[in-house]
Amino acid sequence: MISYLLRRIGYALPIMLGVSFLCFMLVHIAPGDPLVSILPADASVDLQQQMMKLYGFDRPWPVQFAQWIWRALHGDLGTSIATARPVTQEVFKAVGNTFMLAALATLIGFAFGSLFGFVAGYFRNSWMDRAASFISVIGVSLPHYWLGMVLVIIFSAKLMWLPATGAGPDGSGLWKWDAEHVKYLILPAVTMSFIPMGIVARTVRALVADILSQEFVIGLRARGLGDFGVFKHVVKNCAPTALAVMGLQLGYLLGGSILIETVFSWPGTGFLLNQAIFQRDLPLLQGTILVLALFFVGLNLIVDVLQTLFDPRIERA
């Protein structure tokens, strides 16, 4: 058991290293001079060299990589070229916002997805199954940023119930859990929830249908177990995998929030990425992607480990 855990963690470490390396290499595959955005075009060679030294672009890249990793482990992800603020600060401020959004979206998506999936699997091949399956297909085929726009059109422009963009009435990005602020959260969260909803619905449907078709369920019924008992049984069997999927979806949303955050101008990591890209702010880009990717790897690891703990049937290869 412990050995499996250690092995699993040991497996994640080279992956994290590989991921970090890839993030690092992003800068070096980028065409053009990384300093273009801060230096005026007629900057003197001296100034250029000074800046290169400051940002460490003058050393050979294995050294740069080592330095970057070293600093990152100490919490220093460099300085944003555009804003001159530490990247770490910017990223962690934004991560909180994105996490809030993603977590809410995942919960909503999981709740409804499980409901639809369960109904579909329980009442296989009935109209409910088809309806629920249809909704889940929509969930995965929808361009979510477009859905965001549509919801904004309906609820913001036309009905004027909810605000269209931003995270707070003052636009400062400071969050408070009050009615005013929550209003800003609703539309982005609902929009985002469609992604996990579709996938969770499909997964749960397959799980439920599979379990119900297994012979031991017939055995249970034959012994007089009522519908509710069977229901509990099904839930118990589905739960580990369904929760695992939910965990993975959370990770996916954390990393892939940029599109929706752009639509709603939500001050999260995705929005930060957007800025970084357009200002060619490579340290910010690198730092943000690194944090997000590592989060994802870490989350995968946690989900794997929890799954093993709760489901003894999983083979500990």
């Binding site: 050995s3 250690l6 092995r7 290869a317």
Partner: protein, 364 residues
Amino acid sequence: MNDMTTPTTAVDPRDVGGPRQPLMRVQALKKHFPLKRSSLGFGPKSAVRAVDGVSFEIRKGETLGVVGESGCGKSTTARLLMQLIVQDSGELVFDGATVGARELPLRDFRRQTQMVFQDSYSSLNPRMTIEDSVAFGPTVHGVSSRDALNRAHDLLARVGLEPARFAGRYPHELSGGQRQRVNIARALALEPRLVILDEAVSALDKSVEAQVLNLLEDLKRDFGLTYLFISHDLHVVRYMSDRVLVMYLGQVVEVGTATQVFDAPRHPYTRALLRSMPSGDPMQRTTEAPLSGDPPNPIDPPSGCRFHTRCAFAQAVCSQTQPDFIETAAGHGAACLRWQPGSGYMPPPDFPDLAETAAEVAHV
């Protein structure tokens, strides 16, 4: 089937050593499958000792039967013979030439030895027609596709499957018995001298099994083949084999002609195995189980003689010394301390002996 008259020896142009040289000689074959270490790298590395020092020979024109329980290493031995897996140590000598050496490269060896697998369905490519499956082997060795297909059609007819009806079909459209015939045709397509039949009829219904066995007999006679017939079904092995080899836990425990092994077994394991054969006679009832317990684990076999934990005649010395393979009569040998002079084993009065009659053990 069990008579000792020399089997057909059609003169094969590829024959090198003449009838006295064994077609295949297996020497001290060993194959261990290492297991992933359960702890973090501390502790001894364990392995499944599937084949642990196996030696025997297959004579030209005979059918050598191989019996044993599941897990005794029969299938692994078959695959080692085919070189589908490579042995850790030991040698294979085919008609005097070492397999894989310069005198007999693997490709040439593969043309002379073929195998028929147990699962008739999974041994045929589901996406290939029957004729393509049979014709594949020859095309690999340079036969033109037209000639290969013709050969395939001939062979299909030979095994009792009308080419017009079956050649263009897919495996899933055939019954188990028909598929096994296809597998036999496929094995023969390369015109081998040795055919290894690994539980080839085990998955078939009894009536179909009988038909296929008779087919195999006919083919052996017509093509001058040599068979290695692996099975767990003792009746079938008795019916088909000239000589029999008994395996237990990765080792050979007894070898002899079918009559010798079935009528006068020397090894306690063979005896127990034969006693467990169900008989059609309701008057013959077995009152106690001949073999106790499950076969022990090939990862950690018992010390000394591997069978001693289940042997009705085991003594202290059996757990200490590994028996050598001793020939007790012409061509009949067993690996048991009872037959090993100077081993320290004291044969008890009820030990199955040379004098034991056939009636006691065989169910005729």
